[in-house]
């Protein structure tokens, strides 16, 4: 049986992890490789690295970092942040990344998804969608949630799937950072609406929230950042808890 995946997300700025301040048993929580290795040892199923560097100049070091990560960890990982062309993606996959995540640049130019799927296959293209509920509609936002667009979550997710995304990473901006649980209703709707896997993101606060995302939201995977980084939930404990809830993980 295919297991549900637990995915810690690491924000990278200028080659260093940010937010990772209270992780146990780690020498340098700012070192992406060391933090990633620690998560792999704990039983994380995948990792996501999001490069939030301010400039393209600083992003150029990303491929070198990806190579360093791939050398040291033995689980799959996704790299995202500022990717806007086939030329951006090739070096990251060659360096050992398994998938790339695309967000604002796909909203700006949806054909990018077709181009990437043709060049590299749908299995390595994750369409990240940040959305917020406005007047009863889930409105897609870009640029870290700063800019609203005319796209709506469900139709954009479907279009993304048709263009060649292999997976949807849905972040509810209304839930992100609240620790009040994932956005269950849109997750379930995405599940029913799509034939590709969906990763739930935004709102994880306690272990029960993961059960809700998997059972009620039907998510294939759940992503979180701070609760893992700050040691509020340890992945082995979370997996034990989920097993007791009848949810199979690795």
């Amino acid at each position: 049986m295919l297991t549900k995946r637990i995915i810690p997300c690491l924000d990278i700025k200028d080659g260093r992890t940010v937010k990772g301040v209270n992780f146990v048993n780690i020498r340098d929580a700012g070192d992406p490789v060391e933090l990633a290795s620690a998560y792999a040892r704990q039983g994380a199923d995948e990792l996501v690295f999001l490069d939030i560097s301010a400039t393209n100049e600083k992003r150029k070091t990303l491929a070198a970092l990806v190579k360093d990560i791939a050398r040291h960890i033995n689980i799959p990982f996704t790299v995202g942040g500022g990717i806007s062309s086939v030329d951006d993606v090739g070096p990251l996959l060659e360096a050992g990344a398994d998938k790339v995540s695309i967000n604002s640049s796909a909203v700006r130019r949806p054909e990018l998804l077709d181009e990437l799927a043709n060049a590299f296959g749908t299995q390595c293209i994750v369409l990240a969608i940040d959305a917020r509920k406005i007047n009863n509609q889930w409105v897609v936002h870009t640029h870290g949630g700063k800019t609203s667009t005319d796209k709506k979550l469900f139709s954009w997710a479907k279009e993304g799937q048709e263009r060649g995304a292999g997976e949807i990473l849905f972040t509810s901006m209304d839930h992100d950072g609240t620790k009040s649980g994932f956005a269950i209703d849109p997750l379930e709707k995405l599940h029913n609406f799509l034939s590709i896997p969906v990763i739930a993101s935004g709102g994880a606060g306690v272990m029960e929230h993961f059960t809700q995302a998997f059972v009620l939201g039907k998510a294939d995977a759940a992503l979180a950042a701070s609760i893992f980084h700050f040691g509020e939930i340890a992945i082995p404990d979370l997996k034990k808890y989920l097993l007791n809830q009848g949810i199979i993980t690795r």
């Binding site: 295919l2 297991t3 791939a70 689980i75 398994d98 997976e167 896997p197 690795r250």
Partner: protein
Amino acid sequence: MNISVIRYNAGNIQSVSFALERLGVNFTITDDPETIRKSDKVLFPGVGEASSTMKYLRERKLDQLIRELKQPVFGICLGMQLLCRHSEENNTECLGIFDEEVKRFQAGPQFKVPHMGWNQLALSNGWLDPALDNQNVYFVHSYYVPVNPHTSAITEYIVPFSAALKKDNFYAVQFHPEKSAEAGERVLKSFLNL
């Protein structure tokens, strides 16, 4: 021991190389026929699309080379599918070591395609370390090899399918040992220790 990793346009050569490095194994990434022929073991990795990959292999006559290898050969993911006779992925004639048709998963309400994530192995015949039985390994694929007389591990997703194969000197897995944590290392060792 002298190990060759076949150099071609596969997407996971870097990851497979790193996994071998982590095991402390010496290897050469090469498309030189003599080097490949002379090596003790050959790894045939693979991530990508079947028809363009077969075209690439044919243009470089690597298809014939692989068929003629006598030492243990290990196909990974697309590498395993290409060792079969034919793939539904863009109607592609493959290498024909395993006389099997590679089929596409049919998505359904409960089943997403690609099959992506960690799933369990049920070992059925013996080249994989017995400790791997019921262990989770990492899969990413939309096409599968049906269960057949050469199946050495079965995984279930939509249908039971071949997670691993063996015939003569050809060994193959559908999942990614290079990304399957400790279980994946055991799989690589199972092949390297043959």
